[in-house]
Symmetry: C2
Subunit: 363 residues, 2 copies
C-alpha cells in the first residue's frame, strides 16, 4: 500500500479503536463533531479562510438515532478500509449509498446521509474523502498551460505536458489531485475561468503562451479537485491566482469559494481555499468603464447582492463599493460580453489592463 | 486554408451569391427552408434516422421580419467567412450573439435567434456549425480505451493513445471531432455510458482492457461532438455500439438521440445518429431479473413513458414491452444500483451477460 493509503487506513482504524475502547470501559460510545451550520463558521485569521468554530455536537449511542449513526459509521469505515484502501478500489458517493443496501440496520435511508457521514469522517480524521478513494459522480474540469505533470494512475505513471501532450480541450483534472506531481513549468500566473467558452477563447488567442498562464476551467461552482489543484499550484509553485467570472452575484460566490472556501467544506478550507486568489472581473465598474452590454438584475440577483453585503467574506471596502455600484446600475454582465468589441479584445485589452492593475503582470 | 475550411467558405459564399442574384434579377430575395417542427419530422427508411420532411417555409424579404432575417443571415455569413474561416478563428454560440451588437439593424435580439440562424445555415449548406468554427459554451465529454488518434490542433498535431497517454480521467473530446483522425486501435466495441461515475467504474475495473472496449462518457444528453464521434467510430472502424444508461424514460431518450437523432438536429441525423447502436440497459426487466434497488416513478416519469409509447422512435415490440412493464412495476433504477451487489458485479456479471445477449461478445 502507498504511504497515503496507509495513513488513511490508520486514521480510520483509530476512529473504530476509539469506539471499541469506549465499549470496553463501559462508556456508552460517542463521537464529537463541530456543529456544521452557518452560525458556527468563522474566518480563521491567520489563514484568512472559512473554518468551523468551537461549538461541537456529541453523537452518542444514548439515543436510538445516535446509535444507528455510530453503527453506520463503523460499517462505512469497514468499506473504506477493506474495499477501498486495502484493495485499491474507489466508489462514487452515489455507489456508497447503494452499497449500504446489504448493511441491514446500517443501511442509509438516503444519499444525503452517507454524504454527511463521509464529511464527518473527514472532520474527525483531518483527511479528505479523496484520501479514502471516494469519488464524485461527475468528473472535474480541465487545465491548459505551460506545466508538465506526472499523474499516478491505476495503469501506471503518466507524464503529461498540459500544452504539448493534450488535445485542444486540455488536460482533464482527475478526482484526486494528490496523484499529481508537478514536474516543471514556465508559468507566471494562474487564471481560473468560469466558463469553458472563455477558457477556449484564451487558448485560441494564445493567451497561455503570451503570458505563460495556466488556464483552469472552473465550470461554474468549482469541484473540490479544481479548488485543491489551484491551492496546490499557488502554494507549491508560488503562482499568483486570478479568478475571471461573469459580473453577477452568483459568480462572486464562485470567486469566494476559490479564495475563502465554501461553508459546506469549511473543514477543508486550509487545503482547498486560496486566500491569495484575486478577483479579476467582470467587475461592476467594468460595465461602465468598458461599456459592456448587460442584462437587468433579476429580483433573485438583487436579493443575492444584498446577502453578500452582510456576508463577512465580502466585508471589504472593495466589495462594498462594487456591490453597491451594481445595485445602483441594476445591471449585470457576462464575461462573453467582451466579444462585442471583437474576439481579441478580452486578451489584447481587458485582461492585460486588469492583470496590470492587480500587479500580476508588468506592462 | 485547409480543404474543409475552403469548402465551408464556398458554401457560405453560395448563400450570399444566391441572394445577390435574386436582387440583380429584381426578385425580392428569399431563402427556402424545411419547416422544423415535430410534425415535419420523419424516419428516413434507408438510414433509419430522423430527418425533416418535405414541408418547407420561404423566408422572404417581402415582410419586414423576413427582410431582417435575411440581413442578419448575410452579416452572420460575413462573420463566419471573414473572421472564422479566413482568419482561422472560432466563437461560441454565446459570443456570436454578443458580436452582433455592432451589426446595427442586424443585431440579434436574443441568443435563440442567432442559434436558429446558424442551424438554418447548416440546413442550407448541408454542413455542420463546427465546419464554420462555431463552438458550444461548454466542452465535450471524455473517451477512454484502446485507440490511438491524431488531433489537429491550433498548436499543431497531437498523437494521443486514449489509455497510455492520458490521465485517469481520459481524453477530452474536442468540439470539432473532424479534427480527429483514427490511427490504430484494438477495440472490439464501444460502450457509451450515461454517467461519469459508471465510466470511472468501468475504467477502474479494467473493463476497457478485458473487453477491448472504448468507453465514452455521454454526460447526460450527449453533446453533438460526442454523438458525431460515436457515429464516426461506428462507421469508419466498424465498431458496434452499446448504450448504457439509467433505467428511466429520460435515459431512453438519451439512447434514442444517439441511435436515431434528436428533433432539434434532425437535419444532421445522417452525420450524428448511429442507428446500429444497441440499448444495453438498464432495462425495466433487469429491475426484476437482477432484483435492483429502485425508486418509484414520479408523475413526470409516467407521463414521459406514455409519450414514448406514441413516439415512433420507440415503436418496436421490444420498447413496447419494456415501457409497459416499467409502467406496471411503477419503478425505475439507476445504473449505479448494481453497486448494491458489489463493485465488480456490473463488470463481472451484468455487462458480460447483456453484451452476450446482444451478440456483441462471445462467452
Amino acid at each position: 500500500m502507498e504511504d497515503r493509503d496507509l495513513q488513511a487506513r490508520a486514521s480510520l482504524k483509530e476512529v473504530i479503536q476509539r469506539i471499541y475502547e469506549q465499549l470496553e470501559d463501559g462508556t456508552i460510545p460517542y463521537l464529537e463533531l463541530p456543529i456544521r451550520t452557518k452560525r458556527n463558521i468563522e474566518l480563521a485569521d491567520e489563514e484568512n479562510v472559512w473554518t468551523y468554530g468551537k461549538n461541537t455536537i456529541t453523537r452518542s449511542a444514548k439515543t436510538t438515532k445516535g446509535a444507528y449513526q455510530l453503527l453506520k459509521t463503523t460499517y462505512l469505515c469497514e468499506l473504506l478500509i477493506k474495499d477501498h484502501l486495502e484493495q485499491k478500489k474507489s466508489s462514487t458517493l452515489r455507489e456508497i449509498y447503494y452499497i449500504s443496501e446489504n448493511w441491514k440496520h446500517a443501511k442509509f435511508n438516503e444519499q444525503q446521509e452517507s454524504d454527511r457521514l463521509i464529511e464527518d469522517l473527514e472532520i474527525i480524521t483531518g483527511l479528505r474523502r479523496e484520501d479514502f478513494h471516494v469519488r464524485p459522480e461527475e468528473n472535474g474540469a480541465t487545465i491548459f498551460g505551460p506545466l508538465r505533470l506526472k499523474e499516478t494512475t491505476k495503469r501506471g505513471e503518466r507524464i503529461i505536458h498540459c500544452q504539448e501532450d493534450v488535445g485542444e480541450a486540455g488536460y482533464q483534472i482527475p478526482y484526486n489531485v494528490e496523484n499529481i506531481e508537478f514536474l516543471e513549468h514556465d508559468a507566471q500566473l494562474i487564471i481560473a475561468v468560469e466558463t469553458g467558452g472563455m477558457q477556449d477563447r484564451l487558448i485560441e488567442n494564445g493567451f497561455d503562451e503570451k503570458y505563460n498562464a495556466l488556464l483552469i476551467h472552473l465550470k461554474g461552482q468549482p469541484a473540490r479537485s479544481t479548488r485543491r489543484l489551484i491551492k496546490r499550484l499557488n502554494t507549491e509553485l508560488q503562482l499568483p491566482v486570478a479568478v475571471f467570472t461573469d459580473g453577477d452575484p452568483w459568480s462572486y460566490r464562485i470567486y469566494a469559494s476559490v479564495a475563502y472556501g465554501a461553508i459546506k467544506t469549511a473543514h477543508l478550507s486550509e487545503e482547498m481555499a486560496t486566500p491569495a486568489a484575486k478577483f479579476l472581473g467582470v467587475q461592476p465598474r467594468d460595465i461602465i468603464e468598458y461599456d459592456l452590454s448587460t442584462d437587468r438584475l433579476t429580483n433573485q440577483d438583487i436579493k443575492a447582492l444584498h446577502n453578500e453585503l452582510t456576508d463577512p467574506r465580502f466585508n471589504t471596502p472593495y466589495w462594498n463599493e462594487e456591490i453597491k455600484l451594481q445595485l445602483k446600475l441594476g445591471k449585470k454582465a457576462e464575461q462573453q460580453a467582451f466579444a462585442g468589441k471583437g474576439l481579441n479584445y478580452v486578451t489584447d485589452t481587458y485582461l492585460p489592463a486588469r492583470l496590470t492593475e492587480l500587479g500580476l503582470i508588468k506592462r
